[in-house]
Amino acid sequence: MTSKFSLTSLAAAALVAGAGAAAAQDCPIKVGVLHSLSGTMAISETTLKDTMEMLVAQQNEAGGVLGCDLEAVVVDPASDWPLFAEKARELLTVHEVDVIFGNWTSVSRKSVLPVIEELNGLLFYPVQYEGEESSKNVFYTGAAPNQQAIPATDYFLEELGVEKFALLGTDYVYPRTTNNILESYLKDNGIAEEDIFVNYTPFGHSDWATIVADVVALGADGKQVGVISTINGDANIGFYKELAAAGVSADDIPVVAFSVGEEELSGLDTSNLEGHLAAWNYFMSADTPENAEFIEAWHAFIGNEDRVTNDPMEAHYIGFNMWVNAVEQAGTAEVDAVRDAMYGQTFPNLTGGTAEMLVNHHLSKPVLIGEIRADGQFDIISQTEPVPGDAWTDFLPESAVLTSDWKELGCGMYNTETETCVQLTSNY
């Protein structure tokens, strides 16, 4: 596969460059896949690359789009953020893809944004993120903070009666912004500032003894303590191990994680973690026929019955199918036409219900809260009605006045107070 693409890319590179945007109906319609296949993010992103290849193959079996076959153009940005920008430029100018599915980390998205906007590309971004961004050229199929963090916090406040919060995160943009929003939200809900403990640790942190002890000590004033974890990746292993060693059960101090899914738990012995929580828009254990079919197709494609499915995969599944429908509807794969056709697209979720693409380029999706089971899966214990994604959070004063509406207002950062468009390009 790879060698074929690299040969075409070489050939293309030799010929290219001068030709402008190709007529969209040219067959095949090219789908760029911009996920790291090497480096630190490869473990998460390779799965999404495979998902995209599966979806493209399925679509081609079903007759392609507009009578054309789809062709997946896979490049490897190697977990190197500047390389993401370079590869995005290559996809758009050398391979002339019609749409890109890709990115995982926020920093890689911020790296790609200027290129996508300059060349008017189209990116589907499948991972939950911190919001505070709206680009004309990006559709965010992952959760915005109000589709993951806020409902989970509500659950803590309402259902678990948590009165004191420990916000633990890895020190990067997603936890920082999310915790900022949550702090503001908790204060609005009557939690005093001194009842919010915030801690940031580096990527891959392993020495958790002191922090876990600090969290346990938070309970000293008789309030119910809860942990909201935006700890990323490997660091979770040490964290949960230390929690278990300290004998902290979910009944004493519940932990809700936003970055721990089925994939992450597969590297862990979860018997000590039963009852801790995670919030996502999708869990593999969702009991619907669509999900069963998806899991079966995934296992057949990857040839391994043990592989799990996760939330970003569902995001790609929804995003890809919406894009296909939008192309069919627009009659062309040309970016501007497809974008207009995207608004109001609906597609069934894997967890039941229907996702809808909003004019702010976010989806409306239900929020699920799951309890970790001993087998590394989640018991879904709460499922909300579909929540519309909000690009600009309502819980920070600077962002509360902003709204995003690319259809009517044609602006992703519209100040409702001054009634002006702050900027057309996005923040990066």
């Binding site: 580096p202 020495d207 002890a213 309030k223 191990k241 590297g267 862990l268 009852g275 309890e371 018991d379």
Partner: protein, 651 residues
């Protein structure tokens, strides 16, 4: 299938009715059906009514039901909404009738009821009265856990009654302590409560502190003057105890002062009142300063007769603040109780602070032992032989992966650990010897190039590990007897695995010292270190000694890898996390001396924990400052803490 269903249906219609006569027409099922929706999807705040009803019914199966409900053992049958206990059986479930506890056939359209953590806690609290004197020890512990989680005045009596007949001394002690905690908060008379509170002052656990803190709960208030009848915790001075803005916000919240216009409000009002390019007589062009806006706003609020917020200047604010007092008032009206609680809490907290120091010291010791273990191999190769081995971290990784692979083959964790430790040593020993023979031997007179060549090996090994094991972290699970922690008290505790690592580090310290100082090999190593030429002329083969020394250093790295993997994680990059740390440990400690490495590890571990102690919310900063400190430290003691003196110092 259908027959089974019908049978089940018949069962639940007939059997309960048979029981029904005994308890006045009520069965558990019928009580539950009255609250069907709430039982199937319980919420923390609303579940109370169901439980009350259940308990009030006095039916015999209530406690059993509550327990099963709590543990996700209750199912609802979709077809008729009846509740059952169920066990998965084949594709369906084997049902048990809730009221009679008799088998009720099988069914497949069952939905598991999953009460969330909050509901489980409420149920647990309701179960307390059933469980406190239960013959099953685990149930009694569960009841005490529930009391700890949600203490309540009603629990005092059943708890005190159950103390007397408690057979288990540990549980009895715990019951007594809990009863004391409850008495401190809920006892009827002041004397009883003060006495209970005073007894608490000798404790230090989290529950005690929470009891005292709850007794001392206070609210912030503002008033024109200090009220006479209030039990005042403390009086706050604006500007020192709270900021002036905060104080004013409290006045506004208490309706004691008018709300101030925020810059946004000012701007909005000005924007909506632009008349012919002027606002309140001020030209729009002059509104680009706060001063100009204030003038326009002041002029405007005289004209506009809406209830817009007033412009609060610094003077009016200061006046409002000086006319009011700010204080915190205890929720508990009785000063005798709050005074006693304050005194007790001060005492407890002083004890907690002392214990926290101890805890941090233990953590620091643990971290130091991890650094020591990671660095001791390096201390041998770098310190004794003067060879920079950048691939040292990868040897650690190799050891950890060896442990992982062994665990895949031998499922018993204890046995696999016993195999993994020597195997990791053997694997990395071999790798070290191979590296020494193939690469390092040729570079002994070019130390900088050794650094680079071993770095090349390091990136190759790291990538190799990624290719073989993938980039995802691999589990290396410690045996059960290493789980858990050594709990000295509620504040001071340390995970068993860390103790094990500490012991391992001590073991290796002793072993290395023994080998270097008491064996023939050690003598030869020291001889080659000091003067290879002279050693060679005395009949020692320097090549062989170098090879063995290097292998030994690498082998210890492999064992360190198993230990580190047990407490943290196994990834291809784990070596890189420790390599710079390890080098600094060796360099700070002083090259060529095992005691120096120990001192270096202690210093670095202690320092890192110390900085974290001062700035608990930022672990990254602690690492940064630690490295800066080390850089400075080396400026002033370039030879490290334990510097070799005399001839042994060599260069």
């Amino acid at each position: 299938m259908l027959r089974a269903l019908l049978f089940a249906l018949a069962l639940c219609i007939c059997l309960p009715s048979a029981r029904a006569q005994q308890s006045g027409g009520e069965t558990l099922q019928s009580v539950l059906q009255r609250h069907a929706e709430e039982v199937a999807d319980p919420g923390r705040r609303s579940v109370g009514t169901v439980i009350e009803d259940l308990v009030a019914s006095g039916l015999p199966g209530v406690s059993e039901f509550l327990e099963r409900w709590q543990n996700k053992g209750v199912f609802v049958r979709e077809s008729d909404g009846l509740f059952f206990y169920a066990e998965p059986q084949g594709n369906g479930y084997a049902l048990t009738d809730i009221s009679t506890l008799e088998p009720a056939g099988t069914a497949s359209d069952m939905t598991e009821i999953r009460p969330n953590g909050g509901v489980r806690r409420v149920i647990g609290a309701a179960l307390v009265q059933f469980q406190l004197s239960d013959p099953d020890r685990a149930r009694r512990v569960a009841a005490l856990d529930a009391i700890e989680r949600s203490p309540d005045a009603d629990q005092i009596d059943p708890l005190t009654q159950s103390i007397e007949n408690e057979p288990d001394p540990a549980i009895k002690r715990r019951k007594e302590r809990l009863a004391g905690n409850l008495a401190a908060r809920f006892a009827d008379t002041t004397e009883e409560r003060v006495a209970a509170i005073e007894r608490l002052s000798s404790e230090l656990d989290v529950q005690t502190r929470s009891v005292l803190n709850l007794v001392l709960a206070s609210t912030a208030r503002a008033a024109p003057s200090l009220p006479e009848d209030a039990n005042i915790a403390r009086v706050l001075t604006p500007g020192t105890d709270i900021t002036e803005a905060e104080a004013y916000a409290r006045l506004v919240a208490a309706d004691l002062a008018p709300p101030a216009a925020s810059p946004d409000q000012i701007k909005a009002l000005l924007t909506s009142n632009i008349v012919d390019g002027r606002v309140g007589g001020v030209p729009v062009g002059q509104l680009n300063t706060d001063d100009g806006r204030a003038r326009a706003y002041a002029a405007l609020i005289d004209d506009v007769d809406t209830d817009v917020p007033a412009l609060v200047t610094n003077e009016t604010r200061a006046a409002a603040l000086s006319n009011h007092v700010f204080f915190e008032e205890y929720a508990e009206p009785d000063p005798a109780i709050t005074d006693a609680a304050r005194a007790a809490l001060d005492e407890v907290e002083a004890r907690v602070a002392r214990n926290q120091m101890l805890d941090i010291s233990l953590d620091a010791l643990s971290l130091a032992s991890i650094y020591f273990l990671a660095a001791i191999g390096l201390a041998v190769t770098f310190g004794v032989m003067g060879v920079i081995n950048m691939a040292h971290g990868e040897f650690i990784m190799m050891g950890a992966y060896t442990g992982y692979v062994v665990q895949q083959i031998i499922p018993d964790y204890t046995a696999s650990l016993l195999v993994a430790l020597p195997l990791a040593f053997a694997v990395t020993f071999a790798a070290g010897v191979a590296m020494e023979r193939l690469v390092i031997r040729h570079l002994y007179h070019r130390p900088l190039e050794t650094l680079l060549a071993t770095f090349g090996i390091s990136i190759a090994l790291q990538q190799l590990a990624k290719n073989i094991f993938g980039t995802q972290a691999r589990p290396l699970t410690s045996p059960g007897w290493l789980d858990g922690a050594w709990v000295i008290n509620d504040v001071v505790q340390i995970a068993n695995i860390r103790i094990a690592i500490f012991v391992l580090a001590l073991l290796f310290l002793g072993l290395i010292l023994f080998i270097l100082n008491k064996t023939r090999l050690g003598l030869e190593v020291r001889a080659v270190t000091q003067n290879p030429g002279m050693a060679a002329s005395m009949g020692i083969n320097p090549g062989r000694i170098n090879m063995l020394t290097f292998g030994m250093g690498s082998g210890i790295a492999g064992i360190a890898g198993v230990a580190i993997g047990l407490y943290a994680k196994v990834t291809s990059e784990m070596g890189a996390d420790y390599i710079v740390q390890s080098f600094m440990t060796v360099v700070v400690g002083g090259v060529g001396n095992v005691w120096g490495t120990l001192a270096g590890a202690t210093l670095i571990g202690g320092l890192q924990k110390g900085i974290e102690w001062f700035n608990p919310s930022n672990t990254l900063a602690a690492q940064t400052y630690m490295i800066l400190f080390i850089i400075l430290f080396i400026q002033f003691r370039p030879k490290g803490i334990v510097a070799l003196k005399g001839r042994a110092a060599g260069d």
